[in-house]
């Protein structure tokens, strides 16, 4: 009898890796941008299985709702979506795929041969503890990352506006 969480693990694995192959190898850039959406949802499912309820919601909100929409906008604003050649895979791609498969099997061999001293934690709600950690132990990285977000926002505005001044 297979456990329900294991069933969901295999479901999300097939979803993430199968649609991830579409993202990586699709000739149409817009199609891979939309496929990336489902990959990010699958990752959020993995976060739920790993007991990170807050992280799963953040993943859906920030990644799938924010970054991916931004990527789709960028695709539509710049690429010639109608011509697949604008996002074509270059000629070294066969070599790249072979090298990537080599890296994959090397890393798989390493993680299978390593000894992991693991214990399984029970699942508890994490939001309260994450909030407490972010405002106590991790207050400095929290402030630094908020400053980074502000700086990147201003930087993006400056970069996009720069061409108009000529």
């Amino acid at each position: 009898m297979i456990e329900l969480s294991e069933l969901f693990f295999y479901f999300f694995t097939v979803m993430v890796l199968g649609i991830g192959c579409i993202v990586a190898f699709s000739q149409n850039l817009l199609r891979s941008a939309f496929a990336l959406f489902f990959v990010l949802f699958g990752i959020a499912g993995f976060y739920v299985l790993l007991g990170g309820d807050f992280l799963a919601v953040v993943q859906v909100l920030v990644y799938a709702g924010g970054i991916n929409v931004l990527l789709i906008f960028g695709t539509m604003l710049t690429a010639d979506v109608a011509t697949p050649e604008s996002s074509n895979i270059s000629f070294q791609s066969v070599l790249t795929i072979v090298a990537g498969a080599g890296i994959f099997f090397l890393l798989l061999f390493i993680i299978n041969s390593a000894e992991w001293p693991i214990v399984t934690q029970e699942m508890v709600p994490t939001t309260k503890h994450i909030g407490r950690l972010l405002l106590k132990e991790y207050i400095l990285p929290f402030e630094v990352i908020s400053f980074l977000l502000l700086a990147s926002m201003i930087g993006a505005l400056v970069l996009v506006n720069k061409g108009d001044q000529r």
Partner: protein, 103 residues
């Protein structure tokens, strides 16, 4: 599911992202590959946070995954701004044709 199952999914995703940002020509496709790699790293941190031994620092991996997501947001915003202004200047964003610094 054990830790190595999650790690295997994570390295498969990392490999897909690496293949993508090496073999694609479009700058935005390269950025998508970087997003896949960042997601693989965050999944790794989440898996180690679930299966960690120390009770005190159980949520450290999740905190790190939050920071990865926020950094990815900042990076995507700046990279897309660069891509848009490059597109304004050169009318295309294929990485193999942007050679004006080559001299």
């Amino acid at each position: 599911m054990s830790l190595s199952g999650y790690l295997a999914v994570s390295i498969a995703l990392f490999t897909l992202g690496t293949i993508m940002f090496i073999s694609r020509k479009n700058t935005i496709a390269i950025l998508m590959g970087v997003e896949l790699v960042l997601n693989a790293a965050a999944l790794n941190f989440m898996a180690f946070s679930k299966f960690t031994q120390s009770q005190a620092s159980q949520l450290d991996g999740q905190i790190f995954a939050i920071f990865i997501i926020l950094m990815a947001a900042a990076e995507a915003v700046v990279a897309l701004a660069i891509a848009l202004s490059v597109y304004k200047e050169f009318k295309q964003i294929l990485a193999n044709k942007l050679v004006s610094l080559k001299g």
